[in-house]
């Protein structure tokens, strides 16, 4: 039962990563990310219940606090301050991105079949799911033009890595995990400040306009 719940919430995270590809508003993207983080925390919580690891409860709680509350709050603030251009613009349209995401997920399952995962793993299917989330996150980063969408792509990828980490290894050691959370949080804050700097110098947050530095 618990195994089912872990996999269910993991699968929901992947589903939301795909849904992220179909969102055409920055506000909606942030909300989807928020929900994905909640599901991720649930998945980590159930892994914790299954393995009796107390550290995973803390990790789940921190995840909820930082990624479902603090980071979205900050990103909403950024969107509010930027005011104009709220829609997501992309190099590849929604339909094609969704079709491409099918390939990504198949690829993730294919390569994780090649690696034999042995040892005490709670839910084997989590690994391909998290690989799928990582690849979709990278895909969002390269197919979106807006600076904020790229931040969300990075955060999606990071969620995937965290899911892979907890499912494979019952979570990294606590100090490391806190350090990773801290780095991600500070990274997002700094990226947010850079978004403001881009906004003031280029008058848009469209990164395809950042094209002065070329050979």
């Amino acid at each position: 039962m618990i195994k089912f719940l872990v996999e269910f919430f993991g699968a929901m995270s992947l589903f939301l990563a795909i849904a992220q590809l179909s969102s055409n508003r920055l506000n909606l993207s942030i909300k989807i990310y928020q929900l994905q983080s909640v599901f991720l925390s649930m998945s980590i919580l159930f892994i914790g219940i299954a393995t009796f690891e107390f550290e995973l409860y803390i990790s789940s709680f921190l995840n909820l606090l930082i990624k479902a509350i603090l980071i979205p709050f900050f990103l909403f603030k950024v969107v509010e301050k930027i005011k104009l251009d709220r829609e997501v613009s992309m190099y590849l349209n929604i339909t094609n991105s969704l079709l491409f995401s099918i390939l990504i997920v198949i690829f993730a399952f294919y390569i994780s079949n090649k690696i034999d995962i042995t040892g005490e793993v709670i839910a084997k299917q989590i690994f391909p799911l998290s690989l799928g989330i990582i690849f979709i996150g990278i895909f969002i980063m390269i197919s979106r033009k807006k600076a904020l969408s790229q931040i969300i792509g990075f955060l999606t990828m990071e969620n995937g890595i965290l899911l892979a980490g907890t499912s494979l290894t019952k979570g990294m050691p606590m100090i490391v995990e806190i350090g990773v959370f801290f780095d991600v949080f500070v990274g997002v804050l700094m990226a947010g400040v850079l978004v403001f700097q881009i906004k003031t110098t280029v008058e848009s947050i469209d990164t395809s306009r950042l094209s002065d530095l070329k050979e």
Partner: protein
């Protein structure tokens, strides 16, 4: 070790609030104290098996990272001296004092993060510190707040974050393979622990972890095709920071890859890792050669040259014989010294002429005579002309790779090096020669560090101090060299 790191961190915070007049000199003092502390630590290490632990085994020092520690501390000392002259000029050019405090704050945090990378025994903490270097330098790259600087900062933070994310995945895989042997907890991420039990780990999983780490940290080293942030970042950052990034940061990222490679070589799983390193090494040298020839911005040119040298170091380690690893480490030291010196001289040009365009600069010999002497010597040093030390290390690397039977890669490497030499001489002679009626004032504080570094470079090609030679000779055994 804890003292050095702690001192650096405390000073980073203090330097943000202190009056600039004091910051200039205390900065030099602190980096000098750290250099002495570092040297006294290193003197305790004699054999390949010698390790000093500190802080519950979280920090450690062996022959490999003592070389890197020495490089970081030396370069940051010289950069601190140089920063005084450079920042005084920036102050005259109209940058506020607050901004310069900010500069010192981020630079010290940057050095702190690199020290943690070097001394950390724990892969988790190493990862956090490498991400720390990205965060500490992001605002330094966008320091001048113009359109180009912001663009470079954005590219840097995004590309490096992807790379570092992949590296984290690699480290998770490493942890997954080690915790079945060492058990759950912080100790299963300690390099020394993993290294000691490496023969019992799952080789396939280790290889997968290595590939993720290579691609991830390879982004920070600047291996082509992952290098796009590098020329932008190096050309936009303030020049002392460019020197630190080229000379030390790239080495730190490469060092992290080496640590994982050492585990796999010690695992006895053959030497497949070398193939990947060699591929990236040769590809990067070729690509940087092509970009150096058609470059119009001298700081970008130097950034591509950093890529080239990191790739040569990677090539040396991929050959994996005793001689080639010796040459690789030797080249790492040489590159750090010479690249810092050339960035410093170029900084003197930039603060006087305020342009980075190669073809709009003529007649530097008349306008800035002493800078020009430093520049021409640095150019000869960096391209590997005798009698400078880079010539020696490049020669050793090529000899070792021919000896080991890598004929075709070595020939490609040599051709690329010839192209790079041509590109350097063409571009820089173009700047130095010609006539001009302008003359500029030159600062002693800006020119002294590059001349001292060039002198060190000259000495190092004939004489390596015994202590350092011994440390370098210990490294092949740590990395698990193929044949004696």
């Amino acid at each position: 070790m804890g003292v050095i790191i702690g001192l650096q961190l405390i000073w980073a915070v203090v330097s943000y609030f202190l009056n600039l007049r004091f910051v200039y000199f205390i900065q030099i003092g602190i980096t000098f104290i750290n250099l002495i502390l570092g040297y006294s630590l290193i003197s305790k290490i004699n054999n390949p098996q010698d390790r000093i632990y500190e802080l519950n085994n979280l920090l450690f020092l062996d022959s490999l990272n003592s070389i890197l520690l020495l490089v970081i501390l030396t370069i940051s000392f010289f950069v601190s001296v140089y920063s005084v002259g450079y920042m005084k000029r920036e102050l005259k050019a109209g940058i506020s004092e607050k901004k310069i405090n900010e500069y010192y704050f981020w630079m010290n945090l940057f050095i702190f993060a690199m020290l943690v990378v070097t001394l950390s025994n724990n892969f988790g903490i190493l990862w956090i510190a490498i991400e720390g270097t990205t965060l500490a330098t992001a605002f330094l790259i966008s320091y001048y707040r113009n359109k180009e600087a912001v663009e470079a900062g954005w590219k840097y933070i995004m590309l490096c974050s992807i790379g570092i994310g992949l590296a984290l995945f690699g480290i998770i895989l490493l942890y997954y393979s080690s915790f079945s042997v060492l058990g759950h907890g912080l100790q299963s991420l300690n390099w020394t622990n993993i290294y000691d039990v490496s023969s019992r780990l799952n080789p396939k999983l280790l290889m997968l972890a290595f590939i993720f780490v290579l691609v991830g940290f390879g982004t920070k080293v600047g291996f082509a095709p992952l290098h796009f942030w590098l020329p932008d970042a190096h050309s936009q950052a303030p020049t002392p920071i460019s020197a630190l990034m080229s000379g030390v940061l790239l080495n730190c990222a490469f060092y992290s890859i080496l640590r994982v490679q050492a585990i796999i070589n010690n695992n006895g799983y053959g030497y497949d890792t070398s193939k990947y390193l060699m591929f990236f090494g040769v590809l990067t040298v070729v690509i940087s050669a092509l970009f150096i020839i058609r470059q119009v911005d001298y700081k970008r040119l130097l950034a591509y040259s950093s890529m080239e040298h990191m790739a040569i170091i990677a090539f040396a380690f991929s050959v994996n014989t005793k001689l080639s690893i010796f040459a690789g480490v030797y080249h790492l030291i040489n590159h750090a010294i010479v690249k810092t010196s050339i960035f410093m001289t170029v900084g003197s040009i930039l603060t006087s002429l305020h342009t980075r365009d190669i073809f709009s600069i003529r007649g530097l010999f008349k306008a800035l005579p002493y800078t020009s002497i430093a520049l021409i010597l640095s150019v000869f040093a960096i391209t590997g002309t005798p009698p400078f030390n880079i010539f020696m290390s490049k020669l050793f690397i090529l000899i070792s790779s021919f000896k080991a039977g890598f004929i075709i890669p070595s020939i490609i490497l040599m051709l690329a090096l010839v192209l790079i030499f041509g590109g350097f001489i063409y571009h820089f002679l173009n700047m130095l020669m010609g006539d001009t009626d302008k003359g500029y004032k030159e600062d002693l504080l800006i020119l002294l560090p590059p001349f001292v570094l060039l002198f060190i470079s000259l000495v190092l090609s004939f004489y390596i101090p015994e202590k350092i030679l011994m440390l370098i000779n210990n490294i092949p055994e740590i990395l698990g060299v193929k044949n004696g």
